[in-house]
């Protein structure tokens, strides 16, 4: 019990002290996960919409693979990227291993199936009448598809939120390809692992609290954005 109190105290002290190193670690966490989220979103949302709307041979299979990869273990994603980027790997020449870029790549691999799969689900639940209404009002195919995506935006925002939650909290992939190098690739989650190993339990817990706060703040921002685009978001009243 003592450890937990100590940790809570230390956590708040850490935040208040504006510890230089900790700020740098926090910013890198944000940088890596947000960049990965943006990239995963830029490719995942169109890919998901495509899978939802285009009938082609093998679509079912690709969807099932995507759903499966939504549960891809982070260490496994890390391992794959590691093998590709290591000196003996096919992309070894780029010297990317143990850089933030490698961490971003690994997190894109983790985030992409989530964004793509959940976007596909959201778009697939739209009714035929959305498309019909829009083309009968003169929309081109592209405009109608954009409307379908727009109508699915509650689901797509949920996809992005879920993905961000997964990325900011994962440790396996960033540890594997980043290496937890001080001042270079250390992020919040890998710091926690390190501090715990070194026996600094309460400091580890403190960093954990920062991580939790960070996740909370990001969710607040997303919810705020969500509210802005859904002034008329229908809340179901259960009486």
């Amino acid at each position: 019990m003592d450890v937990i109190w100590q940790g809570l105290k230390e956590g708040f002290m850490l935040i208040l002290s504006l510890d230089q190193e900790l700020i740098q670690v926090t910013l890198l966490s944000l940088h890596v996960s947000l960049t990965a989220l943006i990239i995963a979103g830029i490719i995942g949302i169109p890919a998901g919409a495509f899978l939802a709307l285009k009938n082609f041979h093998g679509r079912r299979l690709i969807l099932n693979i995507t759903y499966t990869l939504m549960g891809l273990p982070p260490v496994l994603a890390g391992l794959i990227v590691f093998l590709f980027l290591s000196n003996r790997g096919p992309l070894g020449d780029f010297q990317l291993l143990f850089t933030p870029t490698a961490m971003i790549i690994a997190q894109v691999i983790l985030g992409f199936p989530l964004v793509c799969g959940l976007t596909a689900r959201a778009v697939m639940t739209q009714q035929q009448e959305v498309y019909d209404t829009s083309v009968m009002l003169g929309a081109t195919r592209t405009q109608a598809i954009l409307t379908l995506i727009r109508e699915s935006r509650i689901g797509i925002i949920a996809a992005l939120t879920t993905a961000l939650g997964r990325l900011i909290a994962e440790v396996g992939a960033v540890m594997m390809v980043g290496g937890n190098i001080q001042g270079k690739t250390r992020v919040l989650t890998t710091s926690i692992v390190l501090e715990t190993r070194m026996g600094h339990d309460s400091r580890a817990l403190g960093i954990g609290i920062i991580l939790l706060l960070l996740a909370f703040i990001i969710m607040l921002i997303i919810l705020k954005l969500e509210k802005r685009s859904f002034k008329d978001d229908s809340t179901i009243q259960i009486i």
Binding site: D132, T133, M136, L137, E151, R153, D232, S234
Partner: protein, 242 residues
């Protein structure tokens, strides 16, 4: 007079069930056409085929004088001369303004013109007060009015109305009927109206079709159909005995 729509032996199946089988149908420009028929008789399906929303399985289809080959550019060009109020009056997530402006925006209409036209159409339907209201929160009848305003905003050559007053109160219905007449007479818009209200059909339509099990059971001038139906089933249907 060239026909706006011309169908020969057009069929549509869902699974092994045939829901549409029209041997011959011509719709000419400038009139109001009424389509009657029991539930599930294929009225909406017929409308969807001629508005190019549903592919027919067999037969020949001509729309606005063109043989349909389903190329996206042709579909776009033809659909932009038509508008539809569907049975469900689906509203996009967003304001009433967003919904009514939608068709104009797809045509890249300049912003000031969009504003004017949206206001005009809403005014016409008595819905101007709702312009900033979330469209999904409207009542069923209000949604239908917005759907009509939304279709009118693009100034279509052909207007499809699928039971446009099913949820609308009697006095608003009468108003809407007079707009339907007005746009047909003043703007020469051809109107194809599906309705279950015999009185409305009689009042508005010049020509009538009666659908039965996917077929056009009877067609002709409204007067003739009501006063002197050829098929006994038509007589029964009109008397409400079906």
């Amino acid at each position: 007079m060239t026909a706006l729509f011309r169908l020969f032996n057009v069929t549509k199946n869902y699974g092994d069930r045939q829901v549409l089988n029209v041997e011959h149908l011509e719709i000419e420009a400038g009139h109001i056409y009424g389509i009657l028929g029991p539930n599930g008789s294929g009225k909406t399906t017929l409308l969807r085929v001629i508005s190019l929303l549903t592919l027919n399985d067999t037969g020949k289809l001509e729309v606005l004088g063109e043989h349909i080959h389903w190329a996206p550019t042709q579909l776009l060009r033809l659909r932009r001369q038509m508008a539809m109020v569907t049975q469900s009056s689906y509203m996009f997530e967003g304001s009433v303004f967003y919904n009514v402006a939608y068709g104009l925006k797809t045509r890249k209409t300049p912003e000031p013109e969009v504003k004017v036209k949206v206001q005009e159409s809403l005014e016409l339907l008595g819905m101007l007060d709702f312009i900033n209201y979330p469209a999904r929160k409207l009542s069923g009848g209000e949604k239908q009015k917005v759907a009509i305003a939304r279709a009118l905003a693009v100034n279509p050559k052909v207007l499809f109305l699928d039971e446009p007053t099913s949820n609308i109160d009697p006095s608003s219905s009468i108003e809407i009927e007079s707009y339907i007449k007005y746009i047909n007479e003043e703007k020469a818009t051809t109107i194809i109206l599906i309705t279950h209200k015999l009185f409305q059909a009689r009042k508005l339509a010049k020509q009538m079709f009666l659908m039965w099990d996917g077929h056009i059971l009877e067609q002709g001038p409204t007067r003739d159909l009501f006063h002197d139906p050829r098929d006994p089933r038509t007589r029964k249907f009109l008397k409400g005995e079906y």
